[in-house]
Symmetry: C2
Subunit: 141 residues, 2 copies
Amino acid sequence: MDDSEFEPLLRSVDLRVTRPRLAVLRAVRRHPHADTGSVLAAVRAEEPSVSHQAVYDVLGALTESGLVRRIQPAGSVARYELRVGDNHHHVVCRSCGTVADVDCAVGHRPCLDASDSQGFVIDEAEVTYWGTCPACSTART
Amino acid sequence: MDDSEFEPLLRSVDLRVTRPRLAVLRAVRRHPHADTGSVLAAVRAEEPSVSHQAVYDVLGALTESGLVRRIQPAGSVARYELRVGDNHHHVVCRSCGTVADVDCAVGHRPCLDASDSQGFVIDEAEVTYWGTCPACSTART
DNA sequence: GCGAAAGACTTGACTGATTCAAGAAAGCCC
DNA sequence: GGGCTTTCTTGAATCAGTCAAGTCTTTCGC
């Protein structure tokens, strides 16, 4: 409900402050790992006239500027979360697709030094853990 | 061209040996990291009458049985490679989407022990490196 | 080898996330 | 407040992937 932090955030990356953008940021903060559809629904709860295209545009702009982080586990649509400074990773449930945050076991950037990078200039190492969430583990028993 | 190895492979996982399946396996071996469309094209080069649905079905079956591995970096369609025993990872070019193999820096399963797994039962840790491939690095200069 | 049962393939339609394009509206600097 | 630029709305299109129904193959017992 407190947008005071989002406004300067947007300005800091040279993005104009608009109602749709603030609404998207709020939605992403309240629903971590939400997909575009969920963000759209959350945004419309407070700003009914926002178009789905606007949400795509905004999420794209925020991702490009680094304010939000886009993740897309195999078999899933794109999901978004507020970019926080830490380099955390994600666990994805193979059964229901739920995503949860996981701090990296290694204190610092994990495995960032590939032994043989094939000449690629690597700038990020993304780790995705796959498994079964508590709910699905129980259900399967 | 030597299918002698694929036939027992299919039987070992209780899959019937069919022309489409052998063709898909050959295609995946010859084109590592190929997407479904490329696999379809390669398959049709030798088996013109194979339907696109068959390729989806076959890739699904092979993935499920563990003979091939499906990877899907964010923003990319699904890509496939022959499952080899090693636990290698991938570098993806942010610019052109090219995928290359990378041996893991850590000798064994990297980061598989998440510090806090949120109650998830984790069975795999997937690492994706993001960066710029040699060709795109050069082009951008 | 032969025939039945199960599994796999073909055909054709459909879904749903994401993107493209053109014009209207709003934010920002002076 | 005026005007330029960016952003948003509207509406259509694309494209990977999926669904469904019916036909053909592979397998396996005899």
